[in-house]
């Protein structure tokens, strides 16, 4: 399928009427992307690297200070709170994507589900609600006298201080994030399921393969690249969670639910420590970028 890999290109019919002409036209097709990419991605990345080595409040000229912003981050006590939160968000989201969204996608693709499109909508409904709106809902739902606690009270639990306790707050945020994203993630998996050629199952059934056997030998392997894609997407998304903690808890109580990006934003736009925020940006780009780029390449190569 892929044109990038050399092997199929060899077996493929050579391009007609002179590949040179085709080549020049292709430039016109891909050029718009690269123009925008240069202006709104390459330039900012360059500026990011430079600013991370400076002390700057946005006024006057940036003042070069070497790696002081980076060493400052290492000793920053808030970073010691933010990084564990990031781990909660990332691993929690990944766990739910594969532990819940994947089985959910299988169930929602089932022929025996009555009213399938309605049930799908029920699960996808959180996706369509803007985070800012969702945040309000959970602010009320998680309120000490809100519905969640009133339900818990009837079965003799709680009340849980969902948003006011330093130990619980990050997990409450995770619940909201996950509630919002489960349906969307399932949709990716459903797209992956839909792309499996049905004749594979026909062949397996003719060979006498049972239900579990064909799930194990066909469905899972065929979902491999979609799984990789979901893993990267969820990973990148969870590494830069911002909306929910900002609106629901403001990162509190006492930074206990503050996300990495929220702290970057605070450094940059509240404290006007643009150098520190840039250093945080470089670290984020380097760590998350390297991991996900490697996975993307793996996926593209499998084509």
């Amino acid at each position: 399928m892929a044109i990038t890999t050399p092997a199929p290109a060899m077996t493929r019919r050579p391009p007609r009427a002179g590949g040179g002409f085709r080549g020049r036209v292709a430039v016109a097709f891909v050029a718009p992307f690269y123009v925008l990419f240069s202006v709104f991605f390459v330039i900012p990345i360059g500026a990011l690297c430079y600013l991370s080595l400076t002390s700057w409040s946005g006024f006057g000229a940036p003042h070069f200070i070497g790696f002081a912003n980076y060493t400052g981050l290492v000793h920053d006590p808030v970073m010691a709170q933010v990084l564990p939160n990031m781990a909660v968000y990332v691993f929690g989201s990944l766990g739910v994507a594969f532990g819940v969204s994947l089985p959910l996608a299988l169930a929602l693709s089932s022929q025996t589900l009555w009213g399938r499109s309605v049930v799908r909508f029920l699960f996808f409904s959180p996706v369509v609600a803007p985070t800012a709106g969702v945040a309000i809902v959970f602010n009320v739902l998680f309120n000490s006298s809100g519905p969640v606690n009133s339900v818990l009270r009837t079965i003799g639990i709680g009340p849980v201080n969902w948003l006011g306790s330093e130990r619980v707050a990050a997990y409450s945020i995770l619940i909201v994030v996950v509630w919002q994203s489960i349906g969307f993630t399932a949709m990716y998996f459903m797209a992956g399921l839909g792309n499996i050629p049905p004749d594979l199952y026909e062949a397996a059934a003719l060979d006498g393969a049972g239900r579990w056997r064909s799930a194990w030998s066909i469905t899972l392997p065929m979902l491999k690249s979609m799984s990789l894609f979901v893993a990267i997407t969820v990973f990148i998304g969870a590494s830069q969670i911002f909306d929910d903690p900002t609106i629901i808890t403001k990162g509190g109580p006492g930074n206990s639910s503050m996300s990495y990006l929220q702290y970057l934003y605070t450094q940059g736009f509240s404290y006007l420590h643009l150098g520190v925020a840039s250093a945080m940006g470089v670290v984020l780009a380097a760590v998350v970028g390297t991991i996900s780029w490697a996975q993307y390449r793996r996926m593209a190569r499998e084509a």
Binding site: F124, V137, G194, Y201, A205, G268
Partner: protein, 322 residues
Amino acid sequence: MSVTGAERRPGLSPVRQVTSDGQNLAGRAISGPAGPATVARPRGRRVVKLTRRLVFNLLMWVLGLVFFYPFLWSIAGSFKTDTALFGQGASLWPGSTATFANFRKLFANFPVVDWLLNSLWIAVALTALVVFFAALGGYGFAKFHFRAKRALFNLILVSLAIPFGAILVPLYIEITHLHLDNNDLALILPFMAPGIGVFLMRQFIAGLSDEVIEAGRIDGASEFRIFRSLILPQLKPAAAALATLSFVGSWNNFLWPLVVLNGTNRFTLPIGIYTVLGASGGGSPVSYGEMLAIGSIASVPVVIAFFVLQRAFVSGFRLPQQ
């Protein structure tokens, strides 16, 4: 979901029915042995099968409703007074306390219509541009050979891999240098040719046949005309998938508008909601009901978009498959 058709088609040979059963197994559906349907199954098995289905359906519906509940509760809550909101706990029906006051106060105190229109036009314009530019780039990568193609494609992967949050500060500085801050264009220009779009479109277009393109060339159509008249119309499923991502992404975008917009009338809905939320502090008159009301308003367009695009998303989203 091509699976559905075969089973319902009448007059299939027994062998064909076995195969259609096999497909269903894949979709986690029918239990029991894959055998010709003409052979009657033992009664006990059928009961077990039916019970299983019943339990499965019950479970899915209950879970689905639990998922749906916060959404429904927020819509219901926008018609309640704050006393009722907390007094009634988890109940949905506002009963005799039902009121439109939240909406009335909201529209009187905030430029909600402006916010709604800003959000809508930005999301629609951005989505159209994203689909166009992604199709353009995807076509270039899928159907042409050119120098440094591999390296250029890897650059797209790089842009996909780096979280947007990383370039938040320098992009903001750049936007202010271009005097685009507090301008709708700041929410459109940087995002109108996303790497993910080119990636998905390339994937989809690679699966289309070359014959149409060749026929177009023989007929003497220009390369752009071939793209516009012969390729674009074939891209509907992929375009719908990408449009879903783009529209939902733009509609719900919070961080970037928060950074670049500063005039109240320029706000998009999420920032507007944040403003309403912020106004609730310090003993100001904004009620929880009003917050829920604006949340409900914000969810309507996406509900519609979702219904329109959901099915196409599932069929149009393709990745490299082994």
